[in-house]
Amino acid sequence: MENILECRNITKRYGSKVAINNLSVTVGSGKITGLLGPNGSGKTTLIKLIAGILNADEGEIFAGGNRIGIESKKIVSYLPERPYFTPGMKVSETIKFFSDFYNDFSSDAAESMLKSLDINPDARIRTLSKGNREKVQLVLVMSRKAKLYLLDEPMGGVDPAARDFILKTILKNYNENAGVIISTHLISDVEKVLDDVIFIKNGQMMLHESVDDIRSNKGKSVDSLFREVFAC
């Protein structure tokens, strides 16, 4: 099993604030990993560094064996916390956009998923409910045959049924040659789908263990452990 992600001694500063502090982590392929931590712990910064949207001040990151850059972006599919489509765009136009940008994108897969969700391809993004916008964004990201999927809060602010759909989509797409990293606050919803979890605090990794080990060795759910470790 090769490593789908390797971060070596990453440091990222915003001015004088250290957002990621000498962080090293390795994620094997075929794993669904949860990136968990309080607000401001560095989750989104780390994801953006891997996605290549931000540059690390120190250290190196390799995704799918490639240093972060043009080659890594071809194989990394990133779902940002906030949708980035202009509100006037039609859903069909977002499909075309992805299709133009990415070689590994399947318009058929996207269209069939959106059809089963009853989302009209001619609808403009701004007319869609928040839940539907999230679903469209997720469908597009998951319709790429990437090696690493970075999902930043894929289920934020949506109803339980929509969350179930999102989890099911992630599972259906599972592929042992790819990796998925999910950053989320909805730990108890997502636990059963995760292989491993990473706890991050103040830009440093506090824990990187399998969910099974946490449950059998510590005798508690990841959600309970999180509440203990990060108690305010």
């Binding site: 669904i32 599972l171 636990e191 309970s224």
Partner: protein, 123 residues
């Protein structure tokens, strides 16, 4: 298949327990073909690695078997279902008796209550 998981113990163990229950209660019969790991994982909404781990363990225990390229089947061993039924029954008895003892009831009380309940509810 109806899957219910809690977050307190490893999912693969819970999957194993639920499949054993399905075999014990006859929902899954000897020789039945199971859906693929991926299909089961999506249906149960769990990680495919976890589902794979559970099924492999059940294979190791002899409750499931793999047939080259045809997939996984419930083992053709009729005593499996009986053994599992007994195991589950013993587990229920254990929990029941522990609770009854905590409440201070004797074995005679237990038997009396069981008979009464069985009659009252025309089981």
């Amino acid at each position: 298949m109806d899957w219910k998981f809690n977050n307190d113990s490893p999912i693969y163990q819970q999957i194993m327990e639920q499949i054993k229950a399905m075999i014990a209660t006859g929902i899954l019969k000897a020789g039945d073909k199971l859906p693929s790991v991926r299909e089961l994982a999506v249906e149960a909404e769990v990680n495919p690695n976890t589902m794979q781990k559970a099924l492999s363990e059940l294979e190791r225990e002899g409750l499931l078997c793999s047939k080259r390229t045809s997939g996984r089947f419930v083992s053709d061993n009729p005593s499996n279902a009986n053994n599992l039924q007994e195991e589950m029954m013993m587990e229920c008895i254990k929990v029941f008796i522990e609770n009854m003892k905590k409440l201070g009831y004797s074995m005679e009380d237990c038997i009396k209550f069981i008979e009464k309940y069985w009659q009252d509810n025309s089981l």
